[in-house]
């Protein structure tokens, strides 16, 4: 299993430095969508790292897929809205807003 990183060039660079091979830079929303779809199909990827600001630029349908995906697990970093989708889910299934 491997880790994959998708994002802007600056974002990806640091992860390359940490030794991650599957880093894809995507500068525009179309490229981003295309790359994410491709990586989601890669069975060798266990964790996918995304920048949370990029998440707004992809189609809603893909966002939903990412929210619910378990394998690979998607981790978004940077920005505060990272926990929002999970927060909504907690509210829906437990009935109480437990986050914060």
């Amino acid at each position: 299993m491997e880790i994959a990183v998708i994002g802007k060039k600056e974002f990806v660079l640091g992860f390359q430095l940490a030794g991650i091979k599957k880093t894809y830079s995507a500068e525009n929303p179309e490229k981003l969508t295309e790359t994410i779809t491709k990586v989601l199909e890669d069975t060798n990827v266990g964790i996918l790292v995304l920048q949370s600001t990029d998440l707004d630029q992809i189609p809603r349908r893909l966002q939903v897929i990412i929210e619910n995906s378990v394998k690979p697990t998607i981790v978004t970093i940077g920005g505060q809205e990272a926990g929002l989708s999970l927060r909504e889910r907690i509210k829906r299934s437990v009935g109480v807003d437990l986050w914060k």
Partner: protein
């Protein structure tokens, strides 16, 4: 509700059995739901903590790489990044929380020593080392966070479906069964009363007949 049951004694016995079974299942499921939520609380506390750590580490890593870029220039950082070897490998194992299979992610060779990073120590500055160090820490944190996030998603799914089942039993299945049982009980009682009345009437009629007969005999 349109009761689609036959008011017979055997049906009543079967219904009583089903009500008992449903109630037992309901109690069990309720316990499962509470247990899952309790388990979820534990994971949630951990995840919150980790999320904050993640943000912190990300900021630090961003800062470090910015410094490295100023010191070595973006070409220098890129070349170091390209020569970085040793892919961090993660291993997926599974763990069981109350019947929910959650992943346990183990990672290898995320943290590397200076000499194992792949780029030349002499050709690069200390800023790059620090940036690499910060990002390795970040990756470690990401792996942990991924594990917790998946665990939470799975637990939430399970909680949701268990809750649905508990509510379906509590508000739909059990009330309907009880209604059916009451209906049968009522009908059986009614039939019994009818039967009793019929017998009394027959008795009355035959008694009247007998009285008439004896009266006729006496007249003769």
């Amino acid at each position: 509700m349109a009761l689609n049951v036959k008011p017979t004694r055997s049906e009543l016995i079967a219904l009583k059995k089903r009500i008992k079974l449903s109630e037992r299942g309901y109690k069990l499921l309720k316990m499962k739901r509470d247990g899952l939520i309790l388990e979820f609380f534990k994971v949630l506390a951990e995840a919150k903590d980790l999320k904050n750590q993640l943000a912190e580490k990300y900021e630090r890593a961003q800062r470090m790489i910015a410094i490295a870029e100023t010191v070595d220039g973006s070409i220098g950082v890129k070349s170091a990044a390209f020569s970085a070897s040793e892919n961090p490998v993660i291993d997926l194992k599974s763990k069981n929380i109350m019947g929910v299979v959650v992943p346990k992610i183990e990672s290898q060779s995320v943290k590397k020593s200076l000499t194992n990073r792949g780029y030349g120590v002499l050709g690069t500055s200390a800023a790059i080392d620090e940036a690499a160090d910060a990002f390795e820490e970040l990756v470690e944190c990401i792996i942990l966070s991924a594990e917790l996030e998946t665990t939470m998603k799975r637990l939430l799914d399970e909680i949701e479906s268990t809750k649905r089942r508990v509510n379906a039993l509590e508000f739909k299945v059990i009330p309907e069964l009880i209604e059916a049982r009451n209906f049968i009980k009522m009908r059986l009682d009614e039939m019994e009363r009818e039967e009793l009345f019929r017998m009394k009437r027959t008795k009355g009629k035959s008694a009247a007949k007998a009285a008439k007969l004896s009266a006729a005999h006496a007249a003769e």
